[in-house]
């Protein structure tokens, strides 16, 4: 009988669930908003992933919880930090990765990854919304756009504006004044993406970024951000279809390993 293992990544904004079969294949995914109740959200993400895999929750032999809300995942077997899981997940998909840039809903991380996918070092910004997904969320709100639109529109930019405020709140005011000046929407958007990229670079400098870089987290789904980051880093980035699930994938790999040991 096939053995299954699960990883659940309870992020501050969104919670992700992944089911692996014993051939290291992803067979189910779940993505829900975290909201106020992390425990419920992780259950829902897990259930969604199980449904997607077409299996029974009982078939899952081992579940690893990760992410900022990992200790609230009550049904899991163990918890591992999101840093370790992101490194593991990124290494799984891009084995040559040495640096992971993870831009999530409320934080940005830079992780230096060793040869075996272990964490060599990391830096994290989780105190200030500037430079995180939240910045884009706020902007989308002001501009009355959906998050999915930001990337494609920004890619049309010809002359990106310069957002001088680092603070998200003041940047919002700046965006409004650019709108009042009738600047093009795409130029404003790209300006914001560049502002985030600049912050990300200065954070990442502290762990070093000379070798293969992988961009993960929900914000990596935004194509405009990928372009802005590549320009700022002056090097190409790996981005996977699964990038928002990388943490959950890492957790699921650990779960699979532990399940194998237990068996």
């Amino acid at each position: 009988m096939t053995m299954y293992a699960a990883g659940v990544d309870a992020g501050s904004t969104q919670t992700k669930g992944i089911i692996f079969d014993d051939q290291m294949r992803i067979v189910g995914r779940g993505l829900v908003d975290t909201g106020a109740n992390t425990t419920k959200a992780s259950e829902r993400a897990f259930q969604a992933a199980v449904r997607g895999a077409g299996i029974d929750p009982g078939d899952v032999k081992y579940t690893v919880g990760t992410g900022y809300g990992r200790y609230k995942i009550t049904f899991g077997d163990t918890q591992i930090t999101e840093i370790t899981c992101h490194a593991k997940g990124a290494h799984f998909i891009f084995p040559k990765t040495r640096t992971v840039v993870d831009i999530g809903g409320q934080d940005t991380k830079g992780i230096r990854v060793g040869q075996d996918g272990e964490v060599a070092d990391f830096v994290m910004n989780d105190k200030c919304a500037a430079g995180t997904g939240r910045f884009l969320g706020v902007a989308a709100q002001v501009l009355e756009l959906s998050l999915d639109d930001l990337g494609p529109i920004s890619l049309k930019a010809q002359r990106p504006v310069d957002i001088s405020s680092t603070c998200t709140v003041f940047a919002e005011t700046e965006i409004l004044s650019y709108l009042a000046q009738k600047k093009k929407l795409e130029d404003i958007l790209m300006g914001m993406h560049k502002a985030i990229a600049a912050r990300t670079v200065s954070l990442l400098q502290r762990v070093g970024m000379n070798e293969e870089l992988t961009f993960t987290g929900g914000v990596s789904r935004n194509a405009g951000m990928v372009v802005a980051l590549q320009e700022a880093f002056e090097m190409p980035l790996n981005v996977s279809e699964e990038s928002q699930y990388i943490g959950a994938i890492g957790a699921a790999i650990f779960a699979l390993e532990r399940a194998a040991v237990a068996a």
């Binding site: 370790t84 060793g114 040869q115 075996d116 272990e118 964490v119 060599a120 070092d121 990391f122 994290m124």
Partner: protein, 448 residues
């Protein structure tokens, strides 16, 4: 009382070292007796931990170590109000918090948690750290006392050949230090009215040599598995006990007691933690405001510290490879100050490794340390205050991680509790330990 009980609480089922508690008494006495000494007419000399204690003791001077004083404030969780006083006075939060804590002490009428500290009759600094010079100037500013600097030049270990005669430079530098020591002796004679007694100096150096021999044996005991003491939690206690009594019979007695205790622990198989799973090197000084907390976060996961270069750097002269030559005391005294900094050393002893002048040797030395102490990884404790000790860590990490050494970088401060973020430190330690576990897992799997 509370500290006694705290010291006796077993971490993770392990038995704490009794000599760590004993060190506290020694340090406390060293401070407590200061006023008595002053009243008895002895001169008070502020000197840094690597200062020429053995020499100064020849003049019956009572030694006060500003660094130990600040560290004690921090360890007693009382440093913050002192530091803030200094900041209110104008000092920046970006400078060495040992200095700001000390300034706070002066601004508080010299009321130290361990007792009332008398003002200095003389301050002596050396060149271990450039901040010492500024610190000395600060002390001078406050107390207008005479100041003496022993300048021992720092020479880069060049990866390339020297285009001049480095040996000759060394000899000249040595003479330069010797001459300064002679000036110091004259100054001390003038200040205390006591004539320099070479015999007494020799005697102090002899105590120093005995302490060196003992200390080298002690620090090698962590090569045992399990290690009988934790290099941070216990080790820094021993250092404090020893440094306050350098060149004295008490110092020798104390180290003998430490050694005896450790031998007994080894025989009984008592480790620093109940179950030793990982052995780590700790680079630079501890975070004194959370002195117990950080090592205990490691202990909880079965990791313990087996070495810190401060064992050597923090105890100048107290190492076997450099016993004082009693036939030429001043010269060999000068050598002990100079050698650590001098690029002429073909290859410094690996134990010294701090990484700020050795070129590529710094990397090799760290790898040697890993082997010598059979360690699983290195923890670099980047101290916000201390550029001297922390300045090279990021670079060492770059090089060492290329060599496959698991490395953790922690950031906090030596005396300023505001720079310790528990969540952040915990997060880092957790991720690091997960990595070590994973490595162990893969190694075990590969071995099968």
């Amino acid at each position: 009382m509370s500290e006694q009980t705290a010291a006796q609480v077993a971490v993770n089922g392990a038995q704490p070292s009794a000599m760590r508690a004993k060190a506290k008494t020694l340090v406390k006495n060293a401070f407590g007796e200061a006023w008595k000494a002053k009243e008895a007419g002895r001169k008070i000399c502020y000197c840094f931990v690597l200062g020429p204690a053995e020499l100064l003791r020849c003049f019956d001077m009572y030694l006060i170590y500003p660094e130990i004083s600040s560290a004690q404030m921090a360890a007693k969780k009382t440093s913050l109000p002192y530091i803030q006083k200094a900041e209110d006075y104008g000092y920046s939060a970006d400078t060495c918090s040992y200095v700001t804590a000390d300034v706070g002490l002066y601004l508080s009428g010299n009321q130290h948690p361990l007792g009332h500290v008398p003002p200095p009759d003389l301050v002596i600094n050396d060149t271990l750290c450039n901040t010492y010079y500024k610190w000395t100037e600060v002390i001078h500013d406050f107390w207008k006392c005479p100041v003496f600097s022993i300048d021992h030049p720092v020479r880069l270990k060049r990866d390339e050949k020297y285009p001049y005669d480095i040996e000759e430079t060394y000899q000249q530098d040595k003479q330069y230090v010797v001459k300064q020591l002679l000036e110091l002796i004259a100054e001390c004679e003038k200040l205390t009215g006591i004539k320099f007694d070479p015999e007494r100096f020799r005697k102090n150096l002899e105590f120093g040599n005995q302490m060196s021999a003992l200390w080298c044996e002690i620090i090698d005991k962590t090569r045992n598995a399990p290690t009988p003491f934790d290099a941070v939690l216990d080790g820094y206690g021993y250092i404090a006990g020893m440094n306050t009594h350098k060149g004295t019979a008490e110092g020798v007695a104390y180290l003998e007691a430490v050694k005896t205790e450790l031998d007994q622990r080894i025989v009984k198989g008592t480790g620093a933690v109940a179950e030793e799973r990982f052995r780590l090197l700790w680079m630079s000084a501890p975070c004194y405001p959370y002195f117990r907390k950080i090592p205990e976060m490691f202990h909880q996961r079965g990791a313990t510290f087996v070495y810190t270069p401060q064992f050597m750097q923090g105890t100048r002269g107290t190492y076997r490879s450099k016993m004082y030559d009693l036939e030429r005391p001043l010269e060999s005294y000068a050598e002990s100050m100079l050698d650590y900094f001098h690029g002429r050393n073909p290859r410094q002893a690996p134990q010294w490794s701090m990484g700020w002048w050795g070129g590529k040797d710094d990397i090799r030395n760290h790898l040697d340390l890993m082997r010598r102490f059979n360690a699983d990884g290195i923890v670099f404790h980047a101290i916000k205050s201390c550029r001297l000790n922390s300045g090279g860590f990021a670079d060492l990490r770059e090089h060492l991680s290329r060599e496959g050494v698991p490395i953790l970088m922690l950031e906090s401060d030596i005396a300023d509790p505001r720079f310790f973020s528990e969540a952040q430190v915990k997060n880092r330690i957790e991720a690091f330990m997960e990595g070590l576990e994973e490595r162990k897992y893969y190694r075990a799997r590969a071995a099968v």
